[in-house]
Amino acid sequence: MENSAPIAKNPSLFGILKPYAWLTTGLILLGLATNGLNLILPKIIAQGIDVYVQTHAVLTTVLWEFFWVALGTFIFAYLQSIAQTYASEKVARDLRTKVVAKIAKQSYTYIQEVTAGKLLTNLTSDIDNIKNFVGQAFVSIISSAFLVIGSAVLMILIDWRLALAVLATLPFIGIAFALVFSRMRLFFKKSQEVVDWLNKIINASILGAAVVRVLNSKEGEDKKFIEANTRATDLGIKIIRLFAVMFPVIGFIANFATLVILLLGGHFIIENSLTIGNFTAFVSYLGIIIFPIIMIGFLSNSISQASASYGRIYGTLTAPDKKENGTVEKTLRGDIEMKKVSVCYGEKQVLKEVSFKVKARTRTAILGPTAAGKTHLLYLLMGILNPTNGEVFYDDALVGDYDPESLHRQVGLVFQDSIMFNMSLRENIAFSKTVKDADLQKALDTAELADFVETLPGKLDAMVMERGTSLSGGQKQRIMLARALALNPKVLLLDDFTARVDESTEQKILANLRKNYPELTLVSVTQKISSVEDFEQIVLLMEGEVLAKGTHAELMESSPEYVQIFDSQRSTNTL
């Protein structure tokens, strides 16, 4: 990665361009060259006309001059557009890479806090705004200013009296534009909000498609959508009305300036103080000067949008990195200890002073009802969540002291929700780059997937769709398990693994685990006692607190809550 430009205290939009100094300079030079040549043209025509009027001869040098200038304008203009496209896309690409590199360094908590949606906006529409700035606004503003000043100067040089009269009308265009545009900006902002609202409804209707169909709530969704859509249309029409006023007003003022040229210029021609050629040049310069005035107004908006976007991106880029990674790299024995660990989200306490120990190569179950904080506990063990208070140890070192790469190589987590990526089954399972083929095969066998893979058209190379909609819940769960096992982990964390896998498969898998991974330390979060009854330790977790821990037999003696849960499940255990 290139060194990011020294970042100022306040993010300046122009600061983005610093690393592209040569590109930007070239861009400006090309813009000035194009427009400079453009400015000469009316003057050349005027010369041609005047020479003819005075001498009744056609000056071929003038015509050639005209041709070369026109050609030069064309070449510079196209070079400029190439440079603009390249510069804007390059800036956008580099900025995206930078943002992604930054996100990739962040912690899970950060993503949760900032939300994936906001980061997505950062990477798409925010960067698009900056792209527009670099590609269009930046050069256009400089060119426009150049054209306005250049035309004005040339007009004054031709005939200062006429020039002053014409230029006097122009500020009215600026004023009319500014008045309308300030109101329009307000509407634009509102209409962006409405668009967000519309998109939200559309997104929900896509992500919640199944629910909408099962509950037949189309009507309600339609109503919501029509409400938002109507608002969007109303706002759109309001904006149109402003446009409808602005364009004719500007057009009229420009026409009025033509009228001034006719009245005053005609007078000067009659007085013989102005030539017809220069009269024509005046009309041409008037044509050149009006557009940039409007342009500058429009672009100021694009600049303020880009500034706001850059502010947001800057916030992402300068967010504090997650705290220093640990450096301990060693092979885990598998001892785990939690010491008075608490996790809070604001006022909400998810875990309260949780303490327990797991001995290496033993199996521990974390048992507890819905929303007891079990999943958070696993995230703590995985090091993707940091405790608000308390300490988590592997062997004798804190989780945070381990090099995360080394830790994640040795600790496998099977997530509760099935998360599939849009790539081949092999890549989905051998998700880490260090996986060997033998480990992959062992993982497949253990997860009872080998048979299933055989039935697939492309075997392991079969593609898996996003959200894995084409796989059954249990298949997805087993793929998740294989993904974790393929790392050949020392510690395996299961999050409610048994919920979606049928009894016989589950038992086979547990047996496979003992056989194929005898060294493994297992921590399994579950609701079901029967599958963990023979575990060396069961920790009963309720509302974030450890109520009891021990073997099944011990808990049956000591914990009434445990007995209650056991009883609720007992009827089937005796079968």
Binding site: E89, N203, I269, D502, L575
Partner: protein
């Protein structure tokens, strides 16, 4: 029906001539004939007046300025002022009426897309990536938006000015006029030749953009997995690939879109040069007055300036059309779940059905893709999940579907709720083909709690009442009473803020178990005749689950319950157990038999 939308960047897109674009746009505007007529008249007036201006100027030069008659200059300046004032009003009416037409068209278009999205069956959503769908609809409607809100009205105005200017210069002096139009003709040919290419590169650019944003979305939403498996590098790599593809496509699209502006400028300049050379020649031969040459040069501006803007409108139009095409891919789709006309039933058949609420008769089902088109990349495509199964659900009974994962339990439940139609065979609901029911009637009778319920952002209350017409206007205390009656208030205690607990989308703020609880309340409140629970309690603890069972027991006697579960205690109260595996559905008889089958049958998934 194949619902998979195009996402790859294929180059063989059908070629479309320019005029079909106008036909398409015109068909979208069909509703607004009267307003379009008004604005066309306004455009005519405006363009006519705008074009009259240079003529007046030229005439004034020749007639009065050349002859040093300042009085005439004053009179004609007055005329010019009148012309400008009329143009002002014409321009106002044109912009406001045409703009409003555009906004209303956009309104209809958005509604059409959304309505279609709601009509399409679940299969459509299973076959397309959510991220791509979202990007397609949001970005592409946005592209159409910018076309209809801004470009359309300027576009039509410019079109008239261009045509008018061409007519004027041809009338003033047809030879000089023709000469001035030659560069324009070359431009037209150039535009025409490149238009398909331009459209294609824009389409490809839009697709690359969609791919990029769905890439980001997928990774960000699954960030915890990326962390846990040390795949930050993978995230960056995959993103970089998409980023670079997008970069290339954007550059190509940019180069294509931007070539027009300089070319048009060049053409305009050359036209001026032509007019200057040829015009002076004509003047020398006494066939043109100097004032008219000035008018002519002004008309060149009136002709080529809008033409140049026309070029940028043209690319906006192309972009809009590319967006429109991507959206039409969706609006063209038809639901493959049509409502059949109600059939007349023999009394005997009805009677035979009177006991059962639902009957599967010789039902087979395969996921789409067996047409072999592009289905080989996915495992379930074309695979037969059910073959020729028949069974009954009797009124008021509780059924359990058990069987190994991937055996077809969820598919069976989805068929019962008509999320799909069987590929063969018929499903009867209350004795009538399920396909003859209107959706509201069908969904009123069938409640389905999904495996992974989706929650809408809002509150718990809003989600419970979602799609519930009966209680939708209840106040919070009223709803609490209703919930109490059904014994649901104990579940509510699992949520800290009760009914007002906020829910942020489908976010991680609630556990899967809590989400299932909400889905449970949502379904029970609708008092369906047939309630399907698809592993609806898999992530709920057993104590809460007993509570749920109690609630289920309290449901009216006629309610038929179909439970899909792995945990056997959830199905021990079932009246009948079906074993679902390998395309068949077998009654298991007793619980022991079911357990036995579960433990010893070879998994065939």
């Amino acid at each position: 029906m194949n619902y998979r939308l195009k996402t790859t960047q294929d180059d063989n897109d059908e070629k479309q001539p320019i005029w079909t674009a106008f036909v398409k746009i015109a068909s979208l505007l069909g509703f607004e004939k009267k307003n379009i007529t008004i604005s066309l008249i306004a455009i005519l007036v405006n363009s006519g007046m705008t074009l009259l201006g240079p003529l007046v100027v030229g005439y004034t030069i020749d007639k009065y300025i050349e002859n040093k008659d300042y009085h005439g200059v004053l009179i004609f300046s007055g005329i010019l002022l009148v012309v400008y004032v009329i143009a002002f009003f014409g321009s106002y009416i044109q912009t406001s009426v045409m703009g409003a037409v555009g906004q209303r068209t956009l309104f209809r278009l958005r509604n059409a897309v959304f309505t279609k999205l709601q009509e399409l069956p679940l299969a459509f959503f299973n076959e397309n990536k959510a991220g791509d769908l979202i990007s397609r609809i949001n970005n592409d409607t946005q592209r159409l938006n910018s076309f209809f809100s801004q470009t359309l009205m300027q576009f039509t105005g410019n079109a008239f000015t261009i045509v008018g200017a061409a007519i004027f210069i041809l009338v003033i002096n047809w030879r000089l006029g023709l000469a001035a139009l030659v560069p324009a003709a070359i431009l037209m040919i150039l535009t025409r030749v490149t238009s398909n290419w331009i459209k294609k590169i824009n389409l490809r650019d839009a697709r690359a953009e969609g791919a990029l944003s769905s890439e980001i979305q997928e990774s960000l939403e699954n960030f915890k997995v990326i962390l846990a498996f040390n795949r930050r590098d993978y995230f960056k790599e995959k993103f970089n690939v998409a980023n670079i593809v997008n970069f290339r496509m954007s550059i190509i699209a940019g180069l294509g879109n931007n070539i027009f502006s300089p070319v048009y400028d060049f053409a305009s300049n050359i036209a001026q040069l032509v007019v200057l050379i040829y015009g002076i020649y004509l003047i020398a031969h006494g066939q043109l007055a100097i004032g008219l040459l000035v008018s002519f040069l002004l008309y060149i501006g009136r002709f080529y300036d809008p033409l140049r803007q026309f070029a940028s409108f043209w690319s906006t139009l192309q972009i809009a059309l590319a967006g429109w095409e991507r959206i039409s891919e969706i609006t063209k789709l038809e639901s493959n779940l049509p409502i059949l006309p109600a059939e007349t039933m023999h009394k005997a058949t009805l009677a035979a059905h009177s006991r059962s609420i639902m009957r599967f008769e010789n039902v087979s089902f395969a996921y789409p893709g067996d047409d072999g088109s592009d289905g080989d990349d996915e495992k379930n495509r074309g695979k037969k999940v059910l073959s020729n199964v028949s069974f009954n659900f009797d009124k008021g009974k509780t059924y359990a579907l058990v069987g190994p994962t991937g055996g077809g339990k969820t598919t069976t439940a989805s068929l019962a709720a008509r999320l799909f139609d069987p590929s063969a065979g018929v499903i009867y609901l209350n004795g009538k083909d399920i396909r003859t029911y209107a959706p509201d009637e069908r969904t009123q009778k069938i409640g389905f709690i999904l495996q992974e319920p989706y929650l809408f952002s809002g509150t718990v209350k809003e989600n419970i009442l979602y799609g519930n017409k009966k209680y939708e206007n209840s106040t919070t205390p009223e709803l609490v009473e209703i919930l109490k009656k059904d014994g649901l208030e104990k579940i509510l205690q699992r949520f800290e803020g009760g009914l007002d607990t906020p829910i942020a989308g489908n976010a991680d703020s609630l556990s899967l178990g809590q989400r299932q609880l909400i889905a449970f309340m949502r379904a029970v409140l609708r008092t369906p005749e047939l309630l399907i629970l698809d592993e609806a309690t898999a992530n709920i603890d057993t104590v809460t689950e007993q509570l749920l069972e109690e609630i289920l027991r309290k449901l009216p006697k006629e309610t038929t319950k179909v439970v899909i579960a792995h945990r056997l205690n959830t199905i021990e109260n079932a009246d009948e157990i079906f074993f679902v595996n390998g395309g068949t559905i077998t009654p298991a008889g007793s619980m022991e038999h079911a357990v036995d089958m579960l433990l010893h049958n070879k998994r065939r998934s």
